[in-house]
Symmetry: D3
Subunit: 328 residues, 6 copies
């Protein structure tokens, strides 16, 4: 496993075949120290990339290599991939060291937004800057001011625990695309109050910054997220902030809070009220659409070469089909 040998391109998890010798870079997702029956230690790893994850087992040099494979790190791994008839697939690790930064592309290892965070932030600032209504503008600026506590968390947060945009900056990516979609549809449906709808789109998921915690890569619901729910948490944050702004019109406040409360669209999906304004209807629909299209992105990344159908997916309540684009 000398460094020069990695001129071949990345070997992806989805493409591994039984018996294959592997020398490639993966990210460590989990690391557990276990005991063999003879009492000696071994390491059980979860090694992943953007297409999936496999189990790795390291039987030798455990103490020496332990520190190299902290969760979250990129490691270059040499070993053999084997599908045992009884025990399933695993990678027996023969060698492992931290990967050099030039040995891999970050987007091969972890899911992440399609655009750079700076570019997304610029898109957000542009939408905020277009807001003429002074009250909505002030509200957005309070939440999204560089350096504010909420902005820092919102910018980093994932959009979900799984299903779609379950990665760093995912919430920013999701809310921005919903707000941009809402903005562009207002051209087709001119009766909509565009600024109210766009503001609602940007703020609709703000409760997620309190509902999710990200701890060494794992996205978990917090106690507050489970006991109060992201919708109530976001409603409280926005209503508290509105009440701080002098003269915020009651109608605008009602309209905005209604978007947040109703954005899941149906009681059985956790909204305590259903959308009854055009703006709430629009934000709910585009949010839903954005979530579903995010699931298509996630499923496409995990699809092996030549396959067109994903397996059954809970977020879609079905399978996804990806036609070859050239054929069209």
């Amino acid at each position: 496993m000398d460094q020069q040998s990695l001129t071949a391109s990345k070997v992806f998890v989805r493409d591994l075949a039984d018996g294959q010798a592997v020398d490639s870079v993966f990210v460590v997702r989990e690391r557990t120290r276990r005991q063999k029956k003879n009492g000696e230690p071994f390491l059980k790893l979860q090694l992943g990339d953007v297409t999936g994850a496999i189990e790795g087992v390291l039987w030798e040099r455990v103490d020496e290599l332990f520190e190299y494979c902290a969760p979250g790190g990129a490691v270059r791994v040499a070993g053999n991939f084997c599908v045992d008839p009884k025990y399933g697939a695993s990678l027996t690790v023969r060698g492992l060291r931290p990967a050099e930064r030039n040995e891999y592309e970050a987007r091969d290892l972890e899911e992440g937004p399609a655009h750079a965070v700076e570019q997304m932030e610029a898109g957000l600032r542009e939408l905020v800057g277009m807001t003429q209504n002074p009250f909505l503008r002030e509200l957005l600026e309070r939440f999204f001011a560089s350096g504010s506590r909420i902005w820092e968390r919102w910018r980093e947060a994932p959009a979900a625990k799984r299903y779609h945009q379950a990665y760093r900056h995912g919430l920013l990516e999701h809310c921005l695309s919903v707000a941009q979609g809402v903005h562009s549809l207002c051209g087709t449906f001119p009766e909509i109050d565009r600024e109210l709808a766009v503001s609602g789109a940007l703020l609709h998921d703000i409760g997620k910054i309190e509902a999710y915690s990200v701890d060494s890569g794992a996205i978990e619901l917090t106690d507050a997220g489970k006991l109060q729910g992201e919708i109530a948490l976001g409603y409280y944050l926005v209503r508290r902030e509105i009440e701080e702004i002098d003269g915020f019109p009651a109608d605008t406040a009602e309209g905005l809070l209604h978007i947040i409360l109703s954005h899941h669209g149906q009681l059985e999906h956790g909204s305590p009220v259903v959308p009854c304004t055009r703006e709430a209807t629009l934000v709910h629909m585009v949010d839903n659409l954005g979530g579903k299209l995010g699931s298509f992105d996630r499923l496409e990344k995990a699809l092996a070469d030549g396959e067109r159908w994903s397996g059954f997916d809970r977020a879609l309540s079905g399978s996804a089909y990806f036609a070859s684009r050239e054929a069209a």
Copy 2:
């Protein structure tokens, strides 16, 4: 319709028969001035008592009698009850004047709590007084302090628009009986944190003071009630108040807010989260039970003599059956 003649007991709406001459006291629920085809005015009234309501029509002396029949007032009415083969039932009013206070029993005219409001308030104060936890105690006292704005509204409010306890003081009656039921069940199920559950029971419906308005007898949902929902409104009120109390323990706050948010028991009934603590489960169940038993009370009042079955009732998703108690 001289005053002496009303020695006979109250004639109830549910017992009226075609062709019957009527001289009794009713409450005016609605009053509308209409035009006959010849352009002369007449009055269309809705006259009610605790057993139901009928249409009354007053063809003569409209200007003279108009002021006597303001909605909400008790009137002594003389007239003829008639079931027209085509146009349904109505009472042709021949005479009408404000009822003297000794001509009727208030409980014959309007639904209301089974106990005096003072007695219910005493029951509430007793439950609050039994609360040892200083934070819960302070929170309850802030909401229920005599003279506070919220206490005044809460004491007067109805528990619902229809279905159960849809009358003045109905909310107090309902919340008190739920809290008392919760209190007594803690004897059977000792694992429950009694003070948390009782506090949650007292506060669970507090959002209704902003979700309902009572206007000249008619109970209506407010804009906030429709756009935000009673659960979000109550959650906000309680969380804001908790944040005003120094040192309120986070766990207790979470437990109490969770009771409020989850008390409808299921997402499809408008709770954004489902009960996941013993206390929330208990409050939800006793609230539900109290609502259903309130519907039995309402249906029993409207039942004609000798009948045992109500009609289909939406709140019960079925009919109610009232066996004669003596038979048992």
Copy 3:
């Protein structure tokens, strides 16, 4: 009812008050000849405008006026509006004649698209003209060629029997706005095959030209519409046409037929398959959004001055709320 007197603006059905004298233009929706108990004829009319409909009764000069009030015609009506306590609202017609073309605005009488049909046709031709894929382009041109039988029907057809765009050119208006919305969202979600999605959006409802018939103003489901359903009818039309085009790629055909079959989004809404491509997901969502926003438009037209809430609406599964725009 001389012609000069109609300088006052249109009196709308939604604004009529008990006892009001009326002299305004309405459209005749239904006309029925009935018999009085004495055997003489009278006419029962349904008179409407864009805000609703009322019953009109014409007791005199029946034979003379009968021909003037053929369904679909605009008539100038003089009479008295009266809300009878028992029999409800009606307009007693004293005089009636065909309206002059300059006595009314067509848009006051009948619902219709917000834009002129020529303008909508231009929008359609622009979308078709942007289609680079030669097979999709040919398919669209076959269906939408000026003078083709299908184009003539499609251009005239309503989008629904009630709920949204239930008027002439409504199908064109609906499909065009869905296609334009789909087109604009492809900017936000670039993974989508834009031409396939836009073509699917234009064709998704084409079965409605066989599923609905319009007969003297009334929109009805045909036998084929009830026994086969609009989705199967549209699928057959498009698949038959595709099979006529030499070399139409199988993948493109599958993708397009899948959009049509799945556009109701769920089995229980009548789609025999659920969307499993990005394009089908997008068309379903924007179709759904367009239908809901069309319901908001319909409900807003029927709202009386000063009201903000519609009644419960089946298409929305709730009420619609219209905040005053100025407040925002």
Copy 4:
């Protein structure tokens, strides 16, 4: 594994850690003789305590130890607990002998009621003794007479196959707590016929004595339980017994049978009729509450130290949360 060494407290299944040496008492739930590939026998055991169960494997001295580990017995086990990376958790048993009665607490090994059976029986006799209605009293005495066949089975039976009170005397515990809860709620809701409701609460689940069989610790549905269901079986038992009692009033019989038939509350939960009396509503609700609180008890026992959330639980349709009580 000498007897003196077990001075340390019980080691619970939920607390076992990979690599831990174990010397503690467990109950044998299952015992299977298996063959190694070389044809020699080994034993596979399921060893449990109140917090869960693990697999035990005994490779040596099989014939000698076989008789010691009959299902249902308490055994003292020495061995090593090991979580194999591929094959999961198991306890390799090195030594095993019947446990002495003073080596363990019964409540550490098996779930069971919180109170002694004699105490529960006394509670039952007290409720029966309070029954004034002579017909209900006779009926209860026939079923619960000491020494009667039904009493013997009812007293021993579990309340369920899993979920709540799935242990010996569980049915007695469950029905008693439901009856006591019903009794205490009658103070809050005085319209209820207390004796009818309490009798219904005691008898509501009596069909379970024919619907479940308990065979060497395993609770199973009988053929009759599956083909007829516990509700029909209980209804038949009670109606047959009522018909044996001269002069049993028809109304009381109807009211009692209705409680039994409707106590699942909804058709989709297996009740052929829904509750339409106050008494049936009350018994259904308290039964439901008792079942849910029983699930909280079960989940709390299996919770590891420091954890507050159970996993998703089917009986609750969610997770259970246990706040630390001290915090409040």
Copy 5:
């Protein structure tokens, strides 16, 4: 209205047109004495035939004609049918007398079975006679023995309150056709235990003899029908009878009781258990089919000439379509 004039064929309710003079035979369904505003009496009748019902009003000679129009009787009525623009359709009765037996066909007046009751009884006896299993045979003979109390009620009972075969002998007709259908399908599906299935088909609805009462033509649910339900009532009847027969095999009893309990097919339709044998599956399906086809029969009778579509029907969850048979 002399007797000779009725040579014209029956005028059916479904074919009446506004203004039509009527002289035909109808059956009286309801008779109510009412008061005019001047205190004089008049009669309100409901007059029906197999195609529907209308309101009749008799203003004169009330005392004289009252006795002629007892509910259930066939009367010859002369009068005028009139559709009032406001008050709907009614028949103003000018003359009325008891109809002669030769003035009408019974099947024109009342729904009834397609075959004579003797013919249906013969069909039943044939199926019973084919039963070889001595226990099933004895059970069927006990229930269906001529002269037994149950047979008398079963033979007369309707199959339902509305929807299908809601007329005298309807239960016999329905159960016989289900049993015959079950019998004939056993040829196609030979794995089925034919005698068990046919016996179950004959007995599946036997609880209806206690669940329904027929009182002067009106079919009503009894208290037992509402509180216990037809399924529990039938289960009790059959199980009681089985227990009277010495040596009745347990398996056969279980199989038969399971058919009765599960014949609604789903918990939400009121069966406490779902079919889990071939025989129960078959009886459920053919019962369901028989009910739906009975609804088609009912709807076809009420269809006006030239119409092919019924209105929406709850029993079918849709409309029924009747193609002209010749076209096929």
Copy 6:
């Protein structure tokens, strides 16, 4: 494993016991070449018969025996069956050779129709031959003409991917039994247009020939099957063929297409319209019945000796019970 030794009867998968020596014939369902950790190859097989399947592992003589065990072939296998405590059940194969044709019964190895395909084809021809309506007759003959492409595929196709008749000729068996059942029920329900219903029963599943592919024994949904669904595919096939037949009556065509489109009975089961004719109702019901009874057949085959209950089965939404027939 000499050939003479196989005089003992077939050993079935469902009856294998831990430690049993096996010498019997199975069919190979899957064959995979794998690598041991030392790099040597071994074979993993799936060996089945009509009662189930087990894993077989062949460690030696891999290259020699590889060709003998092509999927689909019957092999005589000698080996040991072993249930490992951790790794589950498998058969260690010691010897294997192609089975002689006289060593096994085909029906012991593979599920298949209960009758010979020739016999089923004769049944089909008989039903077609009874069709008097010339248009229906021609349509059936076009589809079922010996030698036609569709007939060849239809005759071979399975009826489903799993659940019922998931084997060669299963579609023919299923459609024939549905058509025969429909035919026989027309005796009981004479209002049905028998020829239309029988034709619909024969054609209802014809889309399955394009929706399923059978590839070396595995039944899979095709792209068209997933994207268009079997119902739309069958509708297109039949409508295209009808349009080829001159003078095919519109009513008959509508009736037949409606049967195909509605035969799943409910929208949520994938029918875009629900049955609204007697014939469609009948075909839907008998199809459903046939599918359920096919599931009973499948479950009974896999039942071990002495068992009466299957496990939970998704197709039945429950378990199946098989009483011993003798008991009845």
